[in-house]
Each structure stands twice: as structure tokens, then as C-alpha cells.
Symmetry: C2
Subunit: 354 residues, 2 copies
């Protein structure tokens, strides 16, 4: 296979090639790529906007991240922000900073992943900017969404006694990262080693190719349940609970034994000598939805029992967020989360609890 | 002055501090910073979206770029894209990648520049993402704007015999860059030298703190002139003319002696032994508006003679864009523009003609 260097195409040639095959799905996408701005028509609804930036060496490690997966993930994590507002993502624009060590074909892989995510979620890519970068790859995706004003769910609407719910299971993305970092370390020590990834498919997919919970938003709507507050889990359950508490001016009691964990996540946590719940509390990148509902909706939410778990409840004790352990110890919830702003950006342990 | 390291605040602390003092100006900014997405209500109009990414060492050199100016410029170049659609910018979201060698105070300077631009142009900062970066600063701003459908001006509407017009004067931003690069080179050779910047104020401001032509869009509207096509000049007059020609399926005849150049730009070009018009054709970053009008609007546009120059006309010769020199030579227009995707990103001569 021949590789094309970026400067053979130039900026506009590259943009044309990367954006050539992005069909538009939404009637609101009036004008996509190819002008100074895209044109969007969101009649009747409100427009939602959010941006996420991913940087090589900080959010992803090219040693073990396939570019197509990376593109998929970069798009999906943005869609997740719109679902967390109870809205529908409709368009994205892509800001891409790229160093010359990437080939055109490598970037096409990245865009193939973005395209796949757009197809699966019915989102249109309508514009962007590609530029040079002195170091590696930087992907900044801005997502536009739409929502009826009455449907918007903010972080700030949780009330005392509301039930705290989470979709899916947590900690898997972090468990996957632990496996990838372990295999990378072994490979560095002994480059003839083959990585051992069999049996870890679930957590690897959680890390490398997460999904956004479009289905949860649809199910809640079908059941007539409007969450009182909602956020997506990008930084870890602990951090997101604190966000909801702070924005809503409430407290929270979380039950450790209610936190949904996949068996493979639990097994890996033990292997790495980490308390399993910590993968959920501090791991992040699960992109599940964390939300609160009024107690009157408890029966309805039971119908989603295979997808949603009640893990605690909100209290009037503003500023007090606590976790109750199975042996009835009560410990304060603290955010560890990712801290990409540390002096040392060693990527493997920044979210492990002490 | 004490400097605060980024990791002292952490991601959320930093975002809170940087975004604390951004008042909202537009009724359409229903919800700004502080949730998973911002909420915007553009009833009746269409929404415009555009993104621009600026990377340290590619688009700006921290040796001579004050951070406040950089923030101002990063915002303004985005507003310019919305004006180029004949729209009004209303909101921005900021993606910021930053290495730990920046202090919190340095980023506050950057945001002070963004805030000033937002104030001057009546735009609201409604969200963003701050993350680590392995090298320097990356700023990705997405701008949202609004426009009535009937007012939208695409690149694709130019017709044969339309007049080609440009606002302000061109080449100044590039002339400013030449001065800055010269003084930097002298400083590197002899660090005790003081940079000689006196007398170059106009071109330095064009480079370091450009403005977007909000006033031109307003004047055209007041005069009842709707351009048939429009683009902003970020990559150089030559490149933008070719964009209009390609999108509209027309040709162009440009008159070299009509290209508006400031006397200080001409003087500097001669000093650097560059043909003066080349600073306009290939320099870029002037953020003036390049647009075409129907000949029937010629009289009206004369009223803007101090701000707008007719520099040529469009032809039916699709694909043929030429410049007529004062001695009646006809030479094809070729885009040099910036090429940030080159292997060597030496920043000083990538847009100089051969």
C-alpha cells in the first residue's frame, strides 16, 4: 500500500478527500461542508452545542488505539453530551490538528470511524478545519443538537428524595485501559511479545469504542419519564455525582453495592488489586447516563431494569455526598477523575484512587 | 506576581475561573457554561456553525504573540466566517489544549482577549472544554451565528459580469508577520537587541489583532445590496478568488493595480524585496471580506468607496482566473496561501511567492 503524505494534497485537497463521503441525514442540515459556515435550521426547537477535545498522549495512546476506533469514539463522546441534555445530536463540525507524520490514509481511517458513528447515530458532519500541529493529533469535535424546550434536562434539577439512576455498567472503560497499559508495558520490555487481549473483549470495547446511550433517552421518553437532572459519565461516577449535587444544591447517598459492574470488570480490578467500585467511581469514560428521577417514576423505571440501576438517592444535605459501603460504613465521595492538567501526564494511573 | 500552576486548580477549577466573567449579550443564549451542552434559541432564523483551530508554532509564535491578542484574534477570525455568510455571530464554544508550562494567569490573559472580542462583537461564550496537550497551546473555537434564510450569501452565487469587491486593504497582516519574524531573528542572533517595532504599528496590529468586518455586512444591508457570493480572506486573495470561482462555476479577471494596499504595506514589501501585490495575493490573515455584486448595485457600492474597492469582475470562462498587470500582462492566479501541512513548518516563508 502506498501512503500519501499530507503536503501532497495540501489543506483544501485534504479536506475535500476526507469530507467527500459524508451523506447528510437531517433535514435541518441545510448546507454542510464547503463554505465559511454550515447552515442549520432548527425550527421550533432549541439548539444544543457542546465541544470535546481529545489530544494524543493525553486522551489516547497511538500504540494501541486504532484510528478508526478513535474517530468513532471522538464523535460518540460528543453525542453523549447532547443525550445528557435529553436532546438529539444532529450535526458535528471537526477541528483537526495533525502532524506531518500522519499519512492521508491514516486520517481517512480516522474519518471512517467518525463517519460510522455519524451513520449509526443519524448525525451529519457539516464542516471543520484541518491544520498542522507540532505534536501528534488533536481532535476537537463540536456537536450541535436539537431539543424541545420542555424536554431539556439540566444538571441542576435534582430534588431531595429523587432517586439516583445510572444506565448500563461502569468501570469497564477503565478496566480496558488497565489491560492495554499492561500489555503496552510488556511490549516495551519485550517487543517480541504478542499482546494478550483474548477474554478482555468487553472491557477493551468499552475503552476503545464506547457507545452513547441514545436508547436510554428514547426509552425514558417512551415511558413518559423525564429525569429531574442528568449528566453523562466521562470523568467517573464520583465526579459526576458531585456535579449534580453542586448544580442542584442537594446532597447524595450512594450505595456501593448497587453500583453496576460487569463481572469482567470486577475480575480485572481484583487482578490489578483495585477495589472494584473504584473503577466506576474514578475510572471515567463509560459514557453511561447518570440521572435523577422523582420517586413517583420508580415503577416506570423498573421497566428498564435491565438497562438502568437505582444506585442511591438525593438528600437535602447540600454539599454532603456520601457512599454507604456494604458493611454500613459511610465515606465521603471525592472526585479523582482524570486530571489532564498535571505536570506529568503519565497516562496510566491518573484516575486510580489512593 | 505569583503564578498558579494548572494542576493546583484542576480541570473544573480552571474552567470555573476562566469562564467566570463572561456576561451573556444575546437573548438566544438560553444556557451558557456549566452543563453538558449550551442551549440556544434561534427562532425564525437559520443557525450558522463554523470552527477554526489555531496551533502554537503553526499559526502563532509565542515569542512575539501577546496572549490577550491571541485570544482576541482566535475569536475574531471565527466571527469573520459568520460575517462571510452575511450572518451575525451570537455564541462561541472554546476547545483549549494546554501544556503545563502555561500558568493559570497566562490562560486568563488569553480569555481576557476572547472576552474583549465577545464584548466588542456582542457574542456570548457559552461553553468549552479545557484539556492537557503534549506541546504548547491549541485553541479550537466553534462559532454559532444566526441569519435569515433570504439573507444567506454562499460562495457559490457569483455570476458572469458580477463585480469583484474587497473591503479594507490587503497584505498588511503578512507585512506585520515579516517585521515580527525579522525582529525575532535579530533577537535570536543578539539577545541584547531591542526589537524595532516603531513605525510599523498598522501592520503589526493587522497581524496580531485583526478585526472582522461586521461594519461591512451592516453597511451592505443598509444600502440594500446583497452580495451574490462572499468569503473572508484568511488564506490570501488568490486562494479566496479561486474558492469563489470554483464554487460558483465562473472565471475571474483581477486588476493588479486595483488591489488596495496600505502605503506601509507597500513600503515593507519593497524593503523585503517582495512584489507588493503578493502580500495581498498570498499573505492571508487579513480577514477582509471578498464578495461579488450584480452590476446594477455598482452605484450603491460607490457609497462605500472608502471601505470597499472593486478589483475585478467575474467571467463565464469557468476555471480561468487571471490577473491583469498594469502593463497589460495576463497571468494565471495561483493559490500559495498557508500550507500548515508541510513537513517543515518553518513559519516565516510558507506564503511567500517564488
Amino acid at each position: 500500500m502506498e501512503y500519501t503524505e499530507l503536503d501532497e494534497l495540501g489543506e483544501f485537497g485534504l479536506i475535500e478527500r476526507l469530507t467527500a463521503d459524508f451523506p447528510l441525514h437531517n433535514v435541518s442540515s441545510l448546507k454542510g461542508v464547503g463554505d465559511d459556515a454550515a447552515v442549520i435550521g432548527h425550527e421550533g426547537g432549541k439548539t444544543l452545542v457542546s465541544v470535546d477535545m481529545l489530544a494524543e498522549g493525553v486522551h489516547f495512546d497511538m500504540t494501541y488505539t486504532p484510528l478508526k476506533h478513535l474517530g468513532y469514539k471522538a464523535a460518540v463522546v460528543n453525542f453523549s453530551d447532547i443525550y445528557a441534555m435529553n436532546g438529539t445530536p444532529t450535526q458535528i463540525v471537526i477541528g483537526l490538528g495533525v502532524s506531518s507524520r500522519y499519512s492521508v490514509e491514516a486520517l481517512e481511517e480516522l474519518y471512517a470511524g467518525i463517519r460510522l458513528a455519524c451513520e449509526r447515530y443519524g448525525v451529519d458532519m457539516v464542516g471543520g478545519d484541518v491544520t498542522g500541529s507540532k505534536s501528534g493529533l488533536v481532535i476537537s469535535i463540536t456537536v450541535i443538537g436539537t431539543v424541545n424546550e420542555a424536554d431539556i434536562v439540566y444538571r441542576s434539577g435534582a430534588k431531595p428524595n429523587d432517586l439516583l439512576c445510572v444506565s448500563g455498567d461502569l468501570g469497564g472503560a477503565y478496566a480496558g485501559l488497565l489491560v492495554l497499559e499492561r500489555e503496552k508495558a510488556e511490549y516495551v520490555a519485550n517487543p517480541s511479545m504478542q499482546p494478550k487481549l483474548e477474554g478482555f473483549e468487553y472491557v477493551l470495547e468499552r475503552q476503545l469504542k464506547p457507545e452513547a446511550r441514545k436508547d436510554i433517552v428514547a426509552m425514558l421518553k417512551d415511558l413518559g419519564v423525564k429525569p429531574t437532572s442528568m449528566i453523562d459519565i466521562s470523568d467517573g461516577l464520583a465526579s459526576e455525582i458531585l456535579h449534580l449535587c453542586k448544580a442542584s444544591g442537594v446532597g447524595c447517598q450512594l450505595y456501593e453495592d448497587k453500583i453496576p459492574l460487569d463481572p469482567s470488570t470486577v475480575k480485572l480490578a481484583k487482578e490489578f488489586q483495585i477495589v472494584p467500585s473504584v473503577t466506576a467511581l474514578s475510572g471515567g469514560e463509560d459514557y453511561e447516563l447518570l440521572f435523577t428521577i422523582d420517586q413517583k417514576d420508580y415503577e416506570q423505571i423498573q421497566k428498564m431494569a435491565s438497562d438502568v440501576t437505582v444506585i442511591g438517592y438525593m438528600t437535602a444535605d447540600k454539599g454532603i455526598a456520601e457512599m454507604v459501603t456494604p458493611d454500613q460504613h459511610v465515606i465521603p465521595i471525592k472526585a479523582q477523575g482524570w486530571n489532564h492538567l498535571r505536570k506529568e501526564n503519565s497516562s496510566d494511573d491518573s484516575c486510580v484512587t489512593k
